[in-house]
């Protein structure tokens, strides 16, 4: 199993080298634990782990890791009322409405229901 190393990003984001190291160590831990390997982590959790200096910087760091194929991105649409979750690998795949099987009707997707998740691309 290859060692996960985000260290090269510290040259691009020197102000956030600590945040990158924290993210690296977190995903290293999930990599070694089989029960965590397939878990996907939401933005609040990633934010809590990394403490980046700003949201735009976190966006850039995640973009680089997704581009390099180190992380996989998931778009989850949650229907809070009915507890359903739909999952998409691209934003463009999310339709304007989704069929809620519990309600038995089409429901409009509210952008605020879309959550970004990240998992190791293994």
């Amino acid at each position: 199993m290859a060692t996960l190393d985000f260290g090269f990003l510290s040259h691009e984001f020197p102000n956030d080298a600590d945040a990158i190291a924290r993210l690296n160590s977190f995903f290293c831990h999930t990599q070694t634990d089989p029960s965590h390997k397939t878990l996907a982590f939401g933005i609040p959790r990633i934010y809590e782990i990394t403490h980046p200096c700003s949201q735009p910087v976190l966006v850039r760091i995640l973009t680089r890791l997704v581009d390099l194929g180190m992380l996989k991105e998931l778009f989850r649409v949650a229907s809070e009322e009915a507890g359903l979750v739909w999952e998409f690998s691209r934003f463009e795949e999310i339709p304007p409405t989704l069929f809620d099987t519990l309600r038995g009707e089409e429901v409009a997707v509210d952008p605020k229901q879309i959550r970004l998740f990240y998992q190791l691309n293994c």
Partner: protein, 275 residues
């Protein structure tokens, strides 16, 4: 792009704005930024003041390009500081004349920080402007600079950044390895160095190499691709050229080692003695 966190925008509305972004990479980044902002809430951003300091023999038209680039950004204010037209003679002379622009820029920076006490100060300095800012950093620790971007730098390559009392958190030196002016400044006068041509190669500074000349940094593409990420987000976009750097030209190498100023001083002295 509008601030969707304050509205009840529908998915189609957001998608239509995102679809308008032509570059796929930019669109993907915008999608992430929008979704993260929707989930975490719009971040309260601190105000940033970007101060631009020009070089000699110029009225610095490039400063307007940088201003335009940030004209739509409410969190960033760009301020161009000048010290009038500074000619070559005053630039060359190591005594007296250099002080006036240093004092002028120092006073301006003090005014800016006192009027914007909660803002972060980011400085972009070119050529003689880099010399000015190096002097101010050493002498005025009350002026706190968050980030410093140097280009066409004529600061000495062995400048003791570790002795700067309030060193900026992030220092980026845009190096042009076809730029002969820093080498000429070093060769012909005192107090200057060729860090704009060869880099500092110091732990405290990030040297970023480009295959360009003294004023090529002011091309709009360079400003957009390399300066904006640094000024806005402290992001150092990597230069494509860094990985495939070639050696500086022979002329640059020769001028760098020939002690022109000592020869000149020797000639003057000899002339005086003979007279």
């Amino acid at each position: 792009m509008p601030d969707f966190t304050k509205s009840n925008a529908k998915l189609e509305e957001i998608s239509s704005y995102l679809d308008a972004i032509k570059k796929p990479k930019d669109r993907e980044m915008a999608i992430r930024a929008t979704l993260i902002a929707l989930e975490m809430g719009k971040e309260v951003q601190e105000k940033t003041i970007v101060v631009l300091i020009h070089g000699i023999r110029t009225f610095a038209e490039w400063q307007d390009k940088v201003k335009n680039e940030f004209s739509q950004d409410l969190n960033i204010t760009v301020i161009a500081i000048g010290y009038d037209y500074f000619d070559l003679l005053r630039f060359w002379c190591p005594w007296y004349f250099r002080n006036a622009p240093i004092r002028r820029v120092e006073q301006q920076l003090r005014n800016i920080t006192s009027e914007n006490s909660h803002a972060k100060l980011v400085v972009v300095a070119h050529s003689f402007g880099t010399y000015i800012i190096s002097k101010i950093l050493k002498s005025s620790p009350d002026i706190r600079i968050e980030r410093l971007l140097l280009c066409g730098s004529i600061i000495k390559t062995d400048w003791r950044w570790d002795l700067v009392p309030q060193r900026p958190k992030l220092i980026l030196n845009d190096v042009g390895d076809r730029d002969i002016f820093p080498v000429l400044a070093k060769a012909t006068s005192w107090g200057y160095g060729a860090s704009g041509t060869f880099g500092f190669k110091a732990q405290e500074v990030n040297d970023r190499f480009h295959h360009c000349k003294h004023s090529d940094f002011f091309e709009l593409d360079h400003i957009k691709n390399y300066w904006v990420p640094f000024l806005k987000e402290a992001h150092i976009a990597q230069s494509d050229y860094s990985a495939s750097r070639i050696q500086p030209s022979k002329i640059i190498k020769i001028v760098n080692v020939v002690p022109l100023k000592s020869l000149l001083a020797g000639l003057v002295l000899l002339g005086m003695m003979t007279y």
